[in-house]
């Protein structure tokens, strides 16, 4: 199967600062992929190189099989990018902005699709507003519309929900999910890891220009952090065999036990039963992507 994005041995430095170091990454068609990392990890640099806004010092990148350097027309036609910064051209209305953007991609008569994109992003009643007159959230929607105006098979969203209200965020994700359902490949960078966890099937993590983790969201959650079991006993203290699992000093009579996996719950309950102890409160806390992220960033 052809990869939507293929990255081989990509490196980039700005003077003495290494931005990317020998990155290899394949993103299959139709995937919803999260590219995560702290500020300055190299996410935007990698996106910029893919989009032709910057050039790699070494390596090769392809979008839908089109090399971004030697077949840049094919690569750019296949890619829609929603930039991180809230940029706009103050001379034009929303409709003009989208018509020009469509024209740059060689699509002169594209009004039907432009109308549809505006409708799906709730921009129709702002179509003839100047860009300066829009709120930040509305400007963000126009950026999304600009990225979609040529119906690209691959869409990159660089922190699209930064500073965006809850309503827009939910509407935006619903639309992006729909696009992913229609077969578009989505690459998302975000600092809201709950969004990445909920939406993305696979995650790559960058740190100081290196890809330090690449796996399915499920495997990352399973592999990097076990569950935590919070429990309170009716009387007595935790039996000796369970003491190595204690993750935190008991507070209010509650113990927090760190488990390697869910199967260990049964072991814990078995030991408690054997010792005649009664559980009055129990809660199983699942690890989230944020914990995994923090752990990976600390480790590597």
């Amino acid at each position: 199967m052809q990869h939507a994005i293929e990255i081989r041995g990509v490196s980039k430095a700005y003077g003495n600062v290494r931005a990317l170091a020998d990155i290899d990454l394949d993103i299959p068609e139709g995937e919803f992929f999260a590219l995560l990392g702290p500020n300055g990890a190299g996410k935007t640099t990698l996106i910029s190189i893919l989009a032709g806004l910057a050039r790699a010092d070494a390596g090769r990148l392809k979008v839908m099989g089109h090399d971004v350097a030697t077949d840049y027309r094919g690569a750019r036609r296949s890619l829609g990018v929603v930039p991180q910064e809230l940029v706009f051209d103050p001379f034009f209305t929303v409709r003009e902005t989208l018509q020009f953007q469509s024209g740059y991609f060689g699509l002169g008569r594209n009004d039907a699709w432009i109308d549809e994109v505006m409708a799906r992003l709730d921009l129709t009643n702002r179509a003839d507003f100047n860009m300066r007159a829009l709120s930040g959230g509305m400007k963000r929607r126009v950026l999304v519309a600009q990225a979609l105006v040529h119906k690209p098979p691959v869409i990159i969203l660089d922190e699209p929900t930064a500073g965006v209200d809850v309503e827009l965020r939910q509407g935006l994700w619903q639309f992006i999910r729909q696009l992913n359902g229609d077969g578009h490949t989505i690459v998302l960078t975000t600092h809201y890891l709950d969004e990445a966890e909920a939406l993305c099937s696979r995650v790559g993590m960058l740190k100081q220009g290196k890809l330090v983790a690449l796996d399915s969201t499920h495997n990352l959650l399973k592999g990097y952090s076990g569950a935590q079991l919070r429990l309170r006993l009716a009387h007595g203290v935790l039996p000796e065999p369970l003491m190595p699992l204690v993750a935190a000093v008991p507070t209010n009579g509650e113990y927090l036990l760190a488990l390697r996996d869910y199967a260990e719950v049964e072991t814990v309950l078995g030991v408690l039963r054997k010792n005649g102890l009664v559980v009055v409160f129990m809660e199983l806390e699942q690890p989230d992507l944020e914990e995994v992220f923090v752990e990976i960033m600390r480790r590597d």
Binding site: A51, G52, L53, A54, R55, Y72, R73, G74, R76, R77, S78, L79, V81, P83, E85, V87, F88, D89, P90, F91, F92, E96, F100, Q101, S102, G103, Y104, F105, G106, L107, G108, N110, W113, Q146, H150, K151, P152, P153
Partner: protein, 257 residues
């Protein structure tokens, strides 16, 4: 992915650049026309009775083509340079860097839009000043040729300045210390034959002199140097600068890094 038409990217960028300056036409067209008219009124009032540059040609009439060409050159430069620096500083330059536009399409669209603005302003200056002083047009083709070459050259120079400058201050320096002195010292207000020999020689190294002189030839049939020499020099400068600018755009100098 939708099917695209060839060269549609170029025509869209060209149309967008035209729309951009047209939306602020008070600033981009009417203001320079008014400025040129003020130059004409003041200089003609002060010098009309004292200066005759060409035999049988009133000083005010002599001034009109120079002012029209000066306005044309300055506005051609201003169009591409201001559009690019604004786009770079506000960040919306990415909207033309993300699509599959070639460096040649990018170059042609900015230069042609600059030429259109330059020619519109130049024509506006000529039209409004003609109300006050009749100016003959002996060879319209020479007028048109120099208008196109001059606006193309300055539009190209505007691309270089717009790409090179990182802030408005640097662009203003480019405009105030290079473009304006070269246009003012090119014979807009005088014939170089009225200068001392040394300054006449210096003027021959100023490409703006050939643009003004050749343009004026189209009106009066008289010039300081042969219009053919002027075409060769201005055309040569345009070709050389275009080649250099295309090379910068192809490398992505200050745009794609």
């Amino acid at each position: 992915m939708l099917k695209s038409a060839p060269m549609a990217g170029f025509s869209t960028l060209f149309r967008k650049e035209i729309t951009r300056f047209w939306k602020v036409s008070f600033q981009t067209i009417l203001a320079p026309v008014l400025t040129a008219l003020l130059y004409l009124l003041i200089f003609s009032h002060v010098l009309e009775q004292h200066v005759q540059v060409y035999p049988g040609v009133r000083y005010t009439a002599f001034l009109v083509p120079g002012l029209a060409m000066m306005s044309l050159l300055q506005n051609s430069f201003a169009n591409s340079s201001s559009s690019l620096i604004q786009s770079k500083i506000t960040g919306n330059i990415i909207f033309v860097l993300l699509p599959p536009l070639s460096h040649f399409e990018f170059f042609s669209a900015y230069v042609l839009a600059s030429a259109v603005r330059g020619v519109v302003v130049g024509f506006g200056v000529f039209a409004i000043t003609s109300i006050f002083v009749p100016v003959p047009v002996q060879s319209p083709l020479w007028v048109l040729l120099f208008a196109l070459l001059g606006s193309g050259l300055l539009g190209t120079l505007g691309i270089v300045a717009g790409i090179w400058a990182d802030k408005f201050d640097q662009l203003a320096a480019f405009q105030n210390f290079i473009i304006i002195p070269l246009t003012f010292l090119s014979g807009v207000f005088y014939s170089i034959h009225s200068l001392p020999t040394f300054w006449q020689e210096v003027s021959h190294f100023n490409p703006f002199f050939y643009m003004i002189d050749g343009f004026r030839y189209g009106f009066f049939g008289v010039s300081d140097v042969s219009p053919r020499l002027s075409v060769a020099i201005v055309g040569g400068c345009l070709l050389a600068l275009s080649f250099a600018t295309l090379s910068l755009l192809k490398r992505g100098y200050k745009l794609r890094n």
